[in-house]
Symmetry: C2
Subunit: 303 residues, 2 copies
């Protein structure tokens, strides 16, 4: 302790510990997971749900991963906050603002990007579908909505595997992945490690680790839809309860009992004066979100 005061010692320690690349800096990007829910095109995949979950992807027109699909995103400018960068990317891609967005996870593996060290902060945004025209940024040739589906394949005591498929609206681009979650204990907590394997036969793939990001976002969405009002962000100001239920069912991947769903939802909504009529059955009541509603469980969020 006393030789702390000796300048020579401090200097020597400094030199011993100093590594020249210690202060080399990584690049930082944001990647946007922009989800919406849309009516399923009839005839095609005969899922039991009337709606489909979609994510916005771009086609990369530059290396690396040129011609592959990727999440929209870009570098964080030195004079803007990460969140501002995320909002900027969202606006650039969809031309909408003031929608729900939350930070998802920060991806920091060394070789995520073959060019150089890139750390990516992923954000999830939920937007209503109508009146939204995706815009390709300058690093992309196009921006397209992709239908995302995850269905369980098998489960045993040590792992669970699922099929995660990402398919363009017109069906031209199909990407399939086998996602396997290996259960593990970390400290005393049961958790799992995720591995992803592209299906042989994919003509196009997702760039970087973006399929991992999509998978994590799906899980987060599934979790949060149960205990928050997050799903309302996928619809417009006015909606019917059957529509809302379809959104829930699409995200959760299972059907819900109508009566129970309504009992849970009714305190969160207000009846409007409008009804959807000219339908071959009883007219449907329109509702809107009840801003007075306050659930005990809300998420901790930093602005």
């Amino acid at each position: 302790m006393k030789d702390r005061n000796q300048t020579g010692t401090i200097e020597r320690e400094f030199l011993i510990n100093y590594k020249p690349d210690r202060y080399e800096r990584p690049s930082v990007t944001v990647d946007m997971l922009i989800f919406t829910v849309d009516d399923a095109k009839l005839g095609k995949s005969k899922g039991t749900f009337g709606k489909e979950l979609k994510i916005l992807l771009i086609k990369r027109k530059k290396p690396p991963f040129m011609e592959d699909m990727a999440l929209p995103g870009g570098f964080v400018n030195i004079e803007e906050s990460i969140q501002d960068a995320a909002y900027r990317e969202l606006k650039e891609e969809t031309n909408i603002e003031n929608v729900y967005m939350e930070q998802l996870y920060t991806w920091g593996e060394v070789n995520r990007d073959p060019r150089m060290r890139v750390i990516s902060v992923s954000y999830m945004a939920l937007v209503p579908k109508e009146g939204l025209r995706p815009i390709a940024g300058d690093d992309a040739s196009e921006a397209i909505w992709f239908v995302v589906k995850k269905r369980d394949l098998m489960e045993c005591s040590t792992n669970k595997s699922s099929m995660l498929s990402v398919e363009s609206e017109d069906g031209c681009i199909k990407m399939g992945y086998i996602v396997t979650e290996y259960y593990e204990r970390k400290g005393f907590v049961n958790t799992f490690r995720t591995e992803v394997e592209p299906i042989s036969g994919n003509e196009t793939n997702l760039a970087f680790d973006h399929i991992h990001m999509i998978n994590m976002a799906l899980e987060r969405l599934k979790n949060k839809v149960e205990y928050t009002q997050i799903a309302f962000n996928l619809l417009h100001e006015e909606f019917t309860l059957p529509e809302l239920q379809q959104v829930y069912e699409t995200i959760l991947g299972r059907t819900l009992y109508k009566a129970n769903f309504r009992k849970k939802i009714l305190p969160m909504v207000i009846k409007t004066d409008n009804k959807k009529t000219n339908v071959a059955h009883r007219p449907v009541q329109y509702y809107k979100f009840n801003p007075e509603y306050y659930a005990g469980e809300i998420d901790y969020k930093e602005e």
Copy 2:
């Protein structure tokens, strides 16, 4: 298929010619929120709980914020993953490995650090107290456990304010903050914006935005202790149920009914052959964690 090769060539050339200096880059650090639970020193604060939640802080010996307290942490090296950096910092500070750790949030405001643009990824770790001797890193003069307490002051329809106090074990350093959460709607989701005000009279303060990190970690801990087995990480291999209950009560900030607590916990633990005896009352059964226990709700985690 044939332009695959062409694309590959383009990508290879691109990578060779790529000059990564186009954009100015931020520095990236990790900050560690290392928590433990320890017996409360008698006599002092007459909280009703026998244990206290503690966090490991260091005293900064370099500017900026020299002489202030801060979370342990450091720069992410260019050739290590963010998570590896977090594990490295944890080991440097506590000399322990293989404990529970999770990514908390990434802090990206432009002026977090007065020197330059620094983005920080925060990690929360939970460690058992005994047999752990904190080590001051090379940027710190000491590493000390601080008692953390958060108690509600008042709540109304638009906001809620709490007193967040961080106090060294010996009582010499006390830092108090008023934390106010303003309820807001973001999209259709109720959320809140957090503001923190140091109490006038603090002789020492927390550096950077670290008080925000501590606040967020406390909320996360409070949430997760209810639906995960995270709390077991704060104890050693064998523990008694009253001890475990004290840990829960400390984190949650309220007392629990013993019978109900045990009904909830019993499936997660296994009785051992040991009892704590020589106590002035009925002997206490030691338990250990049941690795077979699997709760439906587990956290999505990336390794």
